[in-house]
């Protein structure tokens, strides 16, 4: 398996390279920034990239998104000190095939590398549970969030339509209200959610389970 290492911690990266080579993997290159990682990935088309998150000149999550957009078949496994849930969720959303913490023991890491080689996604113990919790929370919580944010029933209905991709004209037809009224509701929604534009509203609505729950 041809591996690219992307990490700005040179000692950690060099040590990791030596470990992986000892286990028979082919470490084809190393990168110290997100930009370098993208360039090396483009040039060398590795099978697997171990990607740190916090790097100068483009972080690992942004680099992951760029690499997966160009070469979706390249496996990216995040290898980071961060157990921040937001980083974990962003990594999964960016297309990473795994999320590992650097505090793994050598033996644990060796077993995980073997699973990666067999095509399995990998996560440090405890993180998979957090991911499942968050997914369950997103599905269960739209109503609770609306109470916190103060969305009305009608605004909730508008958000549901927006999440499904409906235009204001389509929303008006679906809800038997005028387009002006839809505009009015959208303005209030933007204000209550502190968002700037429709695209952000769509993203927020999808993130908070709209469109999904009625669809089953």
């Amino acid at each position: 398996m041809r591996v690219l290492l992307a990490d700005d911690h040179a000692l950690f990266r060099a040590g990791l390279a030596t470990l992986l080579k000892a286990w028979g993997l082919d470490v084809v290159s190393q990168a110290g920034t997100g930009e370098e990682a993208i360039a090396r990935a483009r040039e060398l088309h590795p099978d697997l990239i171990f990607m740190d998150i916090n790097m100068p000149n483009l972080n690992g999550l942004e680099a992951t998104r760029a690499i997966k957009a160009e070469s979706p078949d390249v496996k990216v496994v995040i290898l980071t000190v961060s157990d921040d849930e937001q980083d974990l969720f962003e990594a999964i959303k960016s297309g990473a095939e795994g999320y590992l913490l650097k505090n793994l023991r050598e033996e644990e890491f060796a077993a995980l590398v073997s699973r990666i080689q067999h095509g399995e996604p990998v996560m440090s113990p405890g993180l998979a549970k957090r991911l499942l919790h968050e997914f369950a929370r997103l599905r269960a919580e739209p109503h609770r969030l609306e109470e916190e944010v103060g969305l009305t029933d009608r605004e909730h209905q508008v958000l549901d339509q927006v999440a499904r991709g409906a235009t204001n004209k389509e929303i008006a037809a679906a809800l038997y209200i005028s387009q002006n009224t839809v505009n009015y509701h959208m303005k209030n929604i933007l204000s209550k959610l502190h968002l700037r534009n429709r695209a952000q509203v769509v993203a927020w609505a999808l993130e908070h389970g709209f469109a999904r729950k009625q669809g089953g």
Partner: protein
Amino acid sequence: MPPKRILLLSNRSLLASGVQRLLEKEEGIELFTAATGDGNAPAKVRQWSPEVIVLDSGDPSMGEGMVTRLLEQFPGARVVAVGLEQEGINVYRMQRLVQTTPSELLAAIYGKGAPSARRRPRKGGDVRTGDTGGATMGQ
């Protein structure tokens, strides 16, 4: 110049294991590796009589108390701690390296400015690693 006696106190973290593999390849270093976590680090230092002790500052068993004990009991030894995180303990006389490179680690091990802080091609001499105990190497 005789090789520098280095004891790596390792909890087999990725960082410590990587550092072990890197130091094993270095000419000019006689590397011993001992496991941490059993509270017996001082006994291992006594056993191997290193000039430099290298440890992972993220190792929970290598907190301020233990490091201070090592420095007090072995005043002739230097302690170099490598770490991944910015936060962490800083103990007087312990050199703490964060976000470091292999050559910076070697420079810390050999002592700043030492000309031997470089990698040389292996001449076939082995670097010993001893983590299963064995005869004391002598003072």
